[in-house]
Symmetry: C2
């Protein structure tokens, strides 16, 4: 018979984060109760408070962790030669990273409004850092005369918005492989910013 009591701090913590991530993505932060999360994990609601001071912190930590991972992963991608190749690398990276974490991505974009003002500022700053990295590539390409872009800030947001769209329709069982998806988007991104 399974134990229903005892210490499980090393596994319960991650399980709570996983359950919260999935449930928040599926139903929305406000629509998910602490009791629901606890049920998924297999503990009572009160036990959650050994791992998070409150529901808001749970959300914030998930979002902050996602953005930190995103930035760290992009920073770890080897710097390619020239703006065109760097943009191509970014396109592939961004698509793959996002497709691997649909829940975290969805939450990071959708639950900003449910953050406290304090937490919101932190997330906005992380998002801006990431965007600035992309804009730097576009600016570089404009200087090198390989891109022609009326407004690099808007183009940055447009490229990211376009790439994020892949999460709304891609299914791994679908007709296209990841490589094909990447190529289709790269074709569009590249032409969109081309000189």
């Amino acid at each position: 018979m399974a134990r229903t009591q005892g210490s499980h701090s090393d596994i319960t913590g991650p399980k709570i984060r996983e359950a919260a991530l999935r449930l928040f993505a599926q139903h929305g932060y406000a629509a998910v109760s602490m009791r629901q999360i606890a049920k998924e994990v297999g503990v009572q609601a009160g036990a959650l408070y050994n791992y998070t001071p409150d529901k808001q912190s749970l959300l914030f930590n998930l979002m902050q962790g996602h953005m930190a991972e995103l930035q760290a992963a992009w920073d770890a991608v080897p710097r390619a030669d020239g703006a065109v190749e760097r943009l191509r690398a970014f396109t592939g990276f961004h698509i793959r990273f996002h497709l691997e974490r649909p829940d975290a991505v969805f939450i990071a974009y959708m639950e900003l409004r449910n953050l406290t003002d304090e937490n919101f500022i932190v997330l906005e700053s992380l998002r801006r850092d990431y965007e600035n990295g992309v804009e730097a590539i576009l600016k570089e390409g404009v200087e090198q005369r390989v891109f022609r872009i009326p407004d690099t800030k808007i183009a940055t947001l447009a490229v990211i918005a376009m790439l994020n769209g892949v999460n709304t329709w891609y299914r791994s069982e679908g007709r296209l492989t990841l490589d094909e998806v990447e190529n289709v988007y790269w074709d569009m991104v590249q032409k969109a910013v081309s000189a």
Copy 2:
């Protein structure tokens, strides 16, 4: 002294829709209570139920109304000559229509998960109709050899995702006029699908 009781059916109905639209967009459907909506309108919570059978119907009607308006407005745009001009017309239409109704747009994309299964199917169908209209333009352009698009379905979603992005950053007091925004996006859209 202001009346606190009496009949106001002709103004209360629209006021409820406006308040719900704004509050849902700002905080999310699940996070907004009927009491909050009532307070904005200036009535008691119970009075809302003279206008909607329940909270879910209120959301559904807002979303359905928005999509119906969107489709009707696009259908009313005069059909331009050739795929390129039609796509340009679409780009301008889509940007302007969406910027005029940021709250409704936000809800239409974000609150799908809070619809009942039945209502979700209806909305998805309306969304697909709209997308198909865009894809038809792209296909036409491919046939006429003015566009070169590896996958018209993906390109449709990519173009719409890119254009929707404008709602996340545009402010009417900002440095760009609507015409300039339109031109910047048209430059990117046109190049992205170009042959």
